[in-house]
């Protein structure tokens, strides 16, 4: 099995704030992590390799410091890393991101692409489906169980739905997006971390990718962020002491009735 896992380095979103005067994001001092949904994807790929043999390639598009998440995925057990990095890739929306990834992945020989369901910074869940379309393979999103057929030509997965799950079968190659419940991602151990530094690590820029610049990054993005602003601050809520339960509840029900909420 040749498996490709596209991952993303994201800021710890709970710590991202806005500078309300300049309208820009304050990223200084905010730690960067591997997108948590991508950890499920990396783990799934490694488990499939352990069961069926093969090779796991981890790929990311991001600034030089995104190397950290590639090294982590290699330390977990990935075999090689591809780092698409160039100022020309910056400002990409989901389509331009998927396009840039697809330009590299389509040159590879692969059976399966596993993405995380979504990245926790943008929360769009769009790169997976867009990448599947650009690679010309079927997609199965929100996967929490994976089985490979004996001849390794088909895949059967549990796809989460709003009511439960569907059992879905597809012929390989295909693209899956991983959700919580698929597995428990392993922590890299010392051996893994040492070995990671020796594993193949390829850096690819716009020139080596060989794609027209106008299709990349901000220029290649169909959508454009016109304005960002902080959300309206919630006005201080009412907090009451529940020592006298009856009185507190009366006040709450009065509040709900007045709001027309019940």
């Amino acid at each position: 099995m040749k498996i490709v896992v596209p991952i993303k380095q994201v800021p710890e979103v709970s710590e991202v704030r806005m500078n309300e005067e300049t309208g820009t994001l304050i990223r200084d001092g905010v730690p960067s992590i591997m997108n948590p949904f991508d950890e499920f994807a990396v783990e799934a790929a490694i488990q499939l390799k352990e069961a069926h043999g093969g090779e796991v390639t981890i790929i990311t598009m991001g600034p030089p410091q995104a190397k950290d998440v590639l090294l982590k995925a290699l330390a977990m057990g990935g075999d090689k890393a591809v780092h698409l990095t160039d100022p020309a890739f910056a400002g990409a929306d989901t389509w331009a991101t998927a396009f840039t990834l697809s330009e590299y992945i389509k040159t590879m020989d692969f059976d399966l692409v596993i993405c995380g369901k979504q990245a926790i910074d943008g929360d769009t869940a769009q790169v997976g489906p867009e990448l599947a379309e650009l690679l010309g393979v079927p997609q199965i999103c929100y996967v929490r169980k994976i089985e490979i057929s004996e001849d390794e030509k088909h895949i059967t997965v549990h796809r989460e739905t709003d009511e439960g799950y569907e059992v879905v079968k597809a012929k390989l190659p295909a693209l899956l997006t991983a959700i919580k419940g698929l597995n428990e991602p392993r922590l890299p151990n010392i051996m893994g971390i040492m070995k990671a530094k020796q594993k193949p690590y390829e850096e690819v820029n716009a020139e080596t990718l060989g794609t027209e610049l106008q299709l990349l990054g901000l220029d290649g993005s169909p959508t454009m962020v016109r304005r960002v602003y902080p959300p309206e601050k919630k006005k201080g809520g009412i907090i009451v002491d529940g020592e006298d339960a009856a009185a507190a509840v009366k006040q709450l029900v009065g509040f709900l009735t007045k709001k027309g909420a019940i």
């Binding site: 989901t94 989460e160 009511e163 439960g164 959508t223 016109r226 907090i239 909420a261």
Partner: protein, 399 residues
């Protein structure tokens, strides 16, 4: 847009004439030829070609072409024949957008035995309903639904296409957008038409710490997925009339590359989906024992609410994953949200902070959930909630 056909690469397999919904491809000797007057660049032939002999060049989108696109479309999702509530919300909002543009609002409904919903959609505000009704669409599959949507969109050229940001909506919309080479904006919570007749799409990012306004300057259609429960459906007007168009979409079984073998319901019978519910009663670690979930269930029954759980209690298996609210579960925005015994870790808060009204009940006065609550009671859920149930009963009975 340009269609590039590499006759030398073509093997003459004849898959593409069979998948073209527009009769634009015919046999030409041992290869094929294209009738460019009929071709709408829907992408079906490009997708099916096993040797990549067909390529549609969509990149050079001519900005003046933007003016050729008219009308607002709403993809109306069905589930086993049932119309999902988000469809009515989007028809209501779509009506506002269509009126702002002075154009038509068109509902698109795809499924099996779903034609009886057309009146509902017209009464809700649609000027026209396009119906695709076939056994092929009984189960949702990305491939069949993508072909249906792109085959409808490509020749009719809508300016805006809205999808509900449900599981399937978020699977389908980006795939349709990518096939047509246009943008897609996920999980919108606000939509508006600006002075330049562009769709301004508002959405939260970075866990709700930031709100972004997104536009699609030079490509059409403008495609968005919209969160359920953000827009309130208007009162249906049963005197409204509208047009119904039945569209036949030709799909070959080889074009549908995934097969649904089985559907498993996990949500306990009668348990409403947290994404669609107006009211959610959500429990956290403070519930202590799965047997105690009876208490929130009673409150939920009384209010016709959905039952939700925070990550710890779903991880313990006390509620199915479909009911988990928070970053690793579902993002919800109901009218009313009860957080019972939930401390309010940031991962939970990002999944529910957009609820209209948040009620928190927790023993710990320092619990972060109180910082987002509109009304909080510092107290034990096992004394407060039974009291709350009887007080709500009393008020409802008195009405």
């Amino acid at each position: 847009m340009k269609l590039l056909y590499d006759r030398d690469t073509c093997t003459g397999c004849m898959l593409c004439p069979n998948v073209c919904n527009f009769g634009a491809i015919e046999k030409d000797g041992d290869k094929v030829k294209f009738d460019m007057d009929k071709c709408v660049y829907c992408g079906s032939c490009e997708e099916i070609c096993p040797v990549d002999a067909i390529h549609i060049e969509r990149r050079a989108f001519d900005k003046s072409k933007v003016l050729e696109y008219h009308d607002v479309w709403v993809f109306c999702e069905t589930n086993e024949g049932r119309l999902r509530s988000v469809a009515l919300e989007l028809i209501t909002e779509g009506r506002v957008l269509a009126d702002a543009l002075g154009e038509k609002l068109i509902a698109v409904i795809i499924g099996n035995e779903i034609e009886h919903h057309t009146d509902t959609l017209i009464h809700q505000g649609a000027d026209k309903v396009i119906v695709v009704d076939d056994k092929m669409f009984a189960d949702y599959t990305t491939d069949a639904y993508t072909i249906a949507m792109t085959s409808l969109i490509a020749p009719r050229k809508p300016a805006v296409v809205l999808f509900g940001a449900t599981g399937n909506g978020r699977d389908l919309a980006p795939r349709v957008a990518a096939r047509m080479g246009v943008g897609c904006t996920a999980d919108c919570t606000g939509l508006e038409i600006d002075d330049e007749r562009q769709l301004v799409q508002t959405r939260p990012a970075f866990g709700g710490n930031v709100i972004a306004e997104i536009i699609t300057p030079a490509r059409r259609p403008q495609i968005s997925t919209v969160r359920p429960n953000v827009f309130k459906p208007s009162e249906p007007d049963t005197s409204r009339t509208g047009e119904v168009e039945k569209a036949d979409i030709k799909i070959s079984p080889v074009q549908v590359r995934t097969r649904v073998l089985e559907k498993v319901r996990e949500a306990v019978e009668g348990m409403k989906s947290v994404e669609e519910a107006d009211i959610i009663v959500c429990s956290g670690r403070g519930i202590k024992d799965p047997a105690n979930l009876e208490l929130p269930k009673q409150l939920a029954d009384l209010l016709d609410a959905a039952i939700g759980g925070s990550r710890p209690i779903v991880d313990l298996g006390w509620l199915p994953p479909t009911q988990q609210v928070g970053q690793s579960g579902r993002t919800v925005c109901p009218k009313l949200y009860f957080a019972l015994g939930i401390s309010g870790q940031i991962q939970h808060i990002v999944g529910m902070r957009t609820a209209d009204t948040i009620i928190a009940i927790n023993k710990d006065p320092e619990a972060p959930i109180f910082s987002v609550a509109d009304f909080g009671i510092v107290g034990d859920i096992f004394t407060i909630v039974p009291e709350l149930i009887s007080e709500i009963k009393r008020v409802l009975d008195a009405r």
